[in-house]
Symmetry: C2
Amino acid sequence: MDEAAFLSTVERLRAGVERRLGDLLPPDGQAPAALTGAARYALLSPGKRFRPVLTLLTAADFGAPDGAALDAACAYEMVHTASLILDDLPSMDDAALRRGLATTHRAFDEASAVLAAVALLNRAYGVIADDARLAEAARVELVAHLSETVGFRGLTAGQARDLARRGQTLTNDEIDLVNHQKTGVLLVAAAVAGALIAGVRGVRLAAVAESARRLGLAFQIRDDLLDAAGQDGKDAGKDAGLPTLVTTLGEHGAREAMHGYLSAAYDALQPAGGTMSAWRYAASFFDAPKVAA
Amino acid sequence: MDEAAFLSTVERLRAGVERRLGDLLPPDGQAPAALTGAARYALLSPGKRFRPVLTLLTAADFGAPDGAALDAACAYEMVHTASLILDDLPSMDDAALRRGLATTHRAFDEASAVLAAVALLNRAYGVIADDARLAEAARVELVAHLSETVGFRGLTAGQARDLARRGQTLTNDEIDLVNHQKTGVLLVAAAVAGALIAGVRGVRLAAVAESARRLGLAFQIRDDLLDAAGQDGKDAGKDAGLPTLVTTLGEHGAREAMHGYLSAAYDALQPAGGTMSAWRYAASFFDAPKVAA
């Protein structure tokens, strides 16, 4: 597929996710207004929808029927949004801006932000359980995997580690663990979901997971580089003082590590077969001038 | 079954739940200490384990094999604990005490409390999805029902309404809606889970749900009566100024309404058949001297 056709496919998938996300939440005014308002604000503010598009492209790469992975894809965006709301809370990063907009607790209030995050995470499970396009066995697998992803060895653990590392000295391996649990686990879950829905199992599924894990490490370095450059739409210098690979390796070293992980992600995916459009999509983020500059 | 034998059955179930809850969380020290510490503190502090015992007795009433509902029962206690942690947060009730102990954000810190609540809710889904004693179809039904229970028409909505009602004048019907969403929905889910696991469906399942809904309304009035009397192990007078049925009906009227709901719960359960030990158990809470006095 040439570049223009590929970008148009990605944009079609992204737009489809945005429409579906809106449908999967109660309309404003149904249920308490502060709760649905905060949830819709956080979930429907403009975003690249990286995780759901990754799910959809992975599903397509491995031959899933069109649309089969759409609701599951949306579930991962809900989980991602929930994690952003929580990360920004006054008791955590105390951030005022996210994606260039007021954070949810600033636009609404703290209680509504917490409840919206919980409701979004919780809704993700309902969306998967209710997805009649998927066999019951697949829904059970997705729920179990998502719970591992968010749980005591996943996102919540990553956030707890992130908070604990403020002012600490960490080894590069320890930073990789935080990065994997904060970011990588959900990219793995999103990619694995697409493959699972396409019927991929065993060593091929493990290859998809390993590739996504490496992508996640590359992505976290990208975020750290953008943050250091004040180009991430978040409060400037908010993460200053956090140990990251940018602080331990320097900007040039971090950029090299990022490209190393990206290339390793490509290698890891080979045993799975498939058309690699998901990897091509992920790689396109690293070519953006902001990062390449 | 005579009273002593019944109480001993209940205590055996309660103790079994406590043991299993401990096994379903990572040990202290595995995963970040503040996260697992806060989750274990909140989940394993002494409690009557009302919801899981309700699940287990309902399952037994309808003939489920011994132990089949244990993990699902524990999942509802995890959700209940998560909701208590969140309700107590500084941005919500700002409570210092719960069950006579420091609230989780006081014993740890606010960020750890929020993450522990999210991790516990999230773990509930994993426990259900991983429960090999249940058919995959049953697990999907339980996950879908739990998501409805917690979501935009359930616990999170109830908490949002509860916060919004501070200083407002509500009708008795509006108070019933808050009470149902804050308390009743999870009792319904716990009872319905027990019945579902025993294979109950259709109108018999609806009878279980309706009975539990009425029990939930009775329970919330009981809580409000205890709170008004300062006997609930929470900060004294913490809920002063909240519109409840105790404020609108007076103590005597509220007590009558409570007993009316309890009796209506009994009536609603009749079409379901079963041995009614779950109702007997629930009713035993209303005979305690604190409430009868």
